[in-house]
Symmetry: C2
DNA sequence: TAGTTTTGCACAAACGATTGTGCAATTTAC
DNA sequence: GTAAATTGCACAATCGTTTGTGCAAAACTA
């Protein structure tokens, strides 16, 4: 059913129907009687205008592209949820792309989204730089979670350095000196900043010589394998700092398997909290990210941008949630 | 940059450019030389045709609408991931809608998707019936996870009855007689079928008098509150059957809080497995749903449907993963 | 009553692609 | 060398909306 057919039914022009349905009846002096008739008929046949034609004519799609690395990671799932809700409340729909932490897929996705004429982009990019795309992206874009240094693309992220610094300091204050950090995907900004936070905290406490950084991606198996290696060697750390929720789960799995009881034999702290962390045994101390905040602020920023306003990057503070996976140890030094 | 501008640049007609870029050069006898020139220029300016215009002309959007109740539930997050990947591999993009288990939002979302002329719909509907929408949905649609009885809409789901029957039987075989079932959102088919599976197993084992069904939605807090109530009364169950992953987590939280050790004082089994279940203490016995299977089969079915083929509903079998949260109890009777 | 203003609506051109068809120019046939 | 066939491309209509503008009819004005 098109607007023309509806117009024929009503024995009037498509113009008039369109004007009524877009609420422009006053502006174009459509009589109340006519407007009524149009609305009734539209309701009765429950007609909805073809959005594709509308988009083409209006040069606007009311669609936002959301590109994230892995929707099955609860962090991103929650982010997606908030973003979807915020956008729906503002009359936009979201085209979802999962890049699987693969720059090729990511680039392809952005291209596709652009050719579909999205009104804006929200991207949690994989790499540290965006060699291929930065020039091509012609629509308002806000980066989520991850971002690029030295390029003035607006972004909204957790203060990863701060969170990691806090976590590490917390361990040090509890008396830990031999602390290993199991990182995620190197080259992604959250990872680099968390690593830097860890390093800074260690150095500022005179432990610059004892840095131990291992691991390679954000997966559970990375946490598992890295932990196994760490506990197999002499000089086993007294505490582990896992740089995301999935890594932390992998750590626990390995520690459980090798009977390294937490926190008696080893302490564990995670970046990125999850609801079930309090149910693990022991419950897991973690840095909680302001997930909802990131989503909301990102959408708000994107809208500012679409209104041709300038927006400043935003770093939201995370929070340490203390539970039972970190124990104090007697100071040796 | 439009195809016309590109054509002007090349000093030829838009027709020719379009035909080359859609690979129809042979069919329309475009010379190789011309085709080459077009491709080079298109590459150089990296031109991509406006998909909106294309969609309008071709009456096809290469877009699928995905409507799910809650993307932050890991079950649906995983489903979304599989679906997105399968669709991307077939050249489609996904418009994501989170209905928040609200029929109003769901209906609105479907309407919006239809007016956007999606080529197909994948929906995990909230209710048991679809009073408002069933007539209006004019595009191929496959239901996910949840479905409607007595209407021949194709669906792909876990065999919920079977899974619940297995879980309950498992408990009974371990000697449990007093088994409470904590359900999710009543009125959703998975819930009803799981409840029926529980009931059937109980009845077939002569425990028809001992049915105990409580709970009201798929949330963690429902599991928490329901469990608290159950253990407060006399005649506390010896086993709990939680009808989804979030409810199970809530159960554990309550049991932990009230020092009801699992599985010594009470056993727990969950419908819907999650990776971290093996790390909980005790590790959680659960019915594992074939999530990836559901996503893949659903997409395949949708494509069959779009090819005007008939498709049969599919019920995929879940599997019981035995861990440590269920203990045998001595038979009293 | 004639002139002016207001009211109510329709025509037609765009948005940017795709495609049936037509028509020169070139090649082939004989 | 002429007729027929083939090659190579462009014209114009179309998809379903929106919107600047135009033009009767109705309502005022004096």
């Amino acid at each position: 059913m098109t607007i023309k057919e509806l117009a024929r039914e009503l024995e009037m022009s498509a113009t008039t129907v369109s004007r009524v349905l877009t609420g422009q009846e006053k502006k174009y002096r459509i009589s109340d009687k006519t407007a009524q008739r149009v609305r009734e008929m539209a309701n009765q046949l429950d007609f909805a205008p073809n959005q594709i034609a509308r988009n083409l004519r209006l040069q606007k799609t009311n669609t936002i592209g959301l590109v994230i690395p892995n929707i099955s990671n609860p962090f991103f799932a929650n982010l997606a949820r908030t973003v979807e809700e915020e956008l729906r409340n503002r009359g936009k729909m979201v085209l979802l792309c999962d890049s699987k932490d693969d720059t090729r897929i990511e680039e392809e996705s952005v291209q596709l989204l652009l050719s579909r004429k999205v009104d804006g982009l929200l991207v949690a990019p994989v790499g540290e730089k965006w060699v291929h795309l930065q020039k091509k992206v012609t629509v308002p874009m806000v980066l989520l979670d991850r971002y690029f240094e030295n390029e003035d693309l607006p972004f909204v992220t957790t203060d990863n350095f701060f969170g990691a610094y806090e976590a590490t300091s917390f361990l040090i204050e509890k008396g830990h000196r031999n602390i290993a950090c199991i990182q995620g995907l190197t080259g992604t900004t959250p990872n680099e900043h968390r690593v830097k936070g860890y390093q800074s905290a260690m150095q500022n406490h005179g432990l610059g010589q004892r840095l131990r950084i291992t691991g390679s991606d954000y997966s559970m198996s990375n946490g598992y394998e890295s932990t196994k290696e760490l506990i197999a060697r002499a000089d086993t750390p007294t505490a582990l700092f896992a740089l995301n929720n999935q890594i932390a789960v992998g750590c626990m799995k390995a520690l459980k398997e090798y009977d390294f009881s937490i926190p008696d034999k080893i302490s564990l702290i995670a970046f990125d909290d999850q609801p079930y962390f309090e149910l693990l045994s022991p419950s897991l101390t973690a840095i909680k990210q302001p997930m909802e905040g990131i989503g909301k602020v990102a959408v708000a920023s994107l809208f500012e941008l679409m209104d041709n306003k300038k927006v400043a990057p935003q770093m939201l503070k995370p929070m340490l949630i203390e539970r039972d996976s970190v124990a104090p140890i007697p100071q040796k030094t």
